[in-house]
Amino acid sequence: MQTALQKAIELILSGDRELCNILLVTARMSISSSLLALLIGVPVGIWLGSCRFSGRGILVVVNRTLMGMPPVVCGLIFYMLFSGVGPFRRFHLLFTVNIMIMAQVFLIAPIVIGNVETYVSGIASSVRDTAKGLGLGTARMLMLLANESMYQILSAYLLAFARATAEVGAVSMVGGAIAWKTNVMTTAIMQYTNRGNFSLGIALGLILMTVSLAVNVVITLLQRRFIQ
């Protein structure tokens, strides 16, 4: 019997082809979905946090509700939409990495929006005053806001990335956990657990945690540069 740690190290050293494939798919999926969520979430978050218009309150509440959407429900919705009998069947996206990314963006973007919006609405009035004093236009004011929120945006990205790597409900549903194609770390852990192979599950979990530790160290170092 081996310990899970030994198993994890052995798996990495052996360069197991299936593990490499799982890591690659995981990286492709979570990096794309977190970056897309950031691209959508930051502008919308700054807009929601700084502009005053009627209906803004409703949008904020809707977004906060979406932040709490259970991944498995999101997965189910995308599964039904893109099923062989679903309305979007012509795109042939079910059981591909692309639909996993789409489902994750749908899950993660609200979290980025919510985080950015909360922070921006706190500093918006003072930044607006400064911008007025300097005679800056709306566009430049928004740029200034984004610059001021950089620390928060990086935090939001970390949150998005963490959610993307850790999430299993939606991706197992729409991806189908197909070997060599759509199997990611979390779905592989689920499979091993279902087969009763708990220690290999923990080994994969350790690898996943180590990867996210590395990502967190890099982004946190980057973040430090913004406060200094």
């Binding site: 310990t3 899970a4 062989g84 679903g86 087969r195 009763g196 160290v217």
Partner: protein, 337 residues
Amino acid sequence: MKKRSMMSMLLALAMTMSLLGSVTVMAEEETEAVEASTETAEAAELNTVILKEADDSMINTYTLIAVNPDAPFTDADGNEVSDVAINTEGAAALIQFLLSAEGKELEANYGQEEFGDSLFYLLDGAPSYEGEIAPATDETATIRLSTTTSVNDSGLLGAILPVFEEEYGYTVEVQSAGTGKAIAAAQYGNADLILVHAKSSEEEFVNDGYALKLDGFDSERLSFLYNYFVLCGPADDPAGVAEAETVLDAFAAIAEGKYTFISRGDESGTHTKELSLWPADLGITVEAESFADYTDWYVSANAGMGACLVMAEEMGAYILTDKATFLTFVANGGVME
């Protein structure tokens, strides 16, 4: 300022590492515990053993069915959908290969090397295919196979599909779930063929018009492999099922004495089989309501076969499983590889 931030970074790193470390220690302790239990079990194997097998009512037949592209598919609202994309050529090729002499040899011999015993047997009078198998084209290259966990977890598909893929250029995408879910995936137009083991659900699938009769075969349902369901439980067998005359008596004894029983509870083929073995007056069905009064001994786990076997081993419970999965479970010392 810089020094301090570096220090705190290091601190954070150290904390995370120690957290990881403690998880590893926990895992180590866990494996040690398992080790200890396997050591004692070395003489007597695992505590969970086969108590009842090779009974005629315990035959577990696996069936291939191609999905009919013109099936009465309906969307979530019940509206008819006509243009569902099904790769019938691919499904036919895979079925022809599995029923060819080459495929059958692979199937019948699977397990000899690793376990010293075949895990699946060829059914007498199973349909055969002797003709040509069409190689993959761009449109037919991807085959979606929806199957049950027992076929996938026992390693059978992993041993056969690469041979087929290499020879004919197809890629087979395997989704594995309980038979109920595997059939549902096909009804939603997400599979080109299914490989399942629950006769009643299969017949319903055929009767509803979802199955396609391939050229050169007599029936939609192509049953070709079998193995046995086995009733397993703790070696000391408190319910005395090993002495029971039939499997039905054994199940009655478990229910009578209220000995813990782990049910898959996921509408899989194994679950369907189990439901047919309980005394009728208990009225146990797939509905949660039906076993609400038996929760002190009837455990509806809603999990895969391997996870359920681990649970049975932990709880000293009785469980129904297929022999292939059980042998893999035992060969790996209580885990499924």
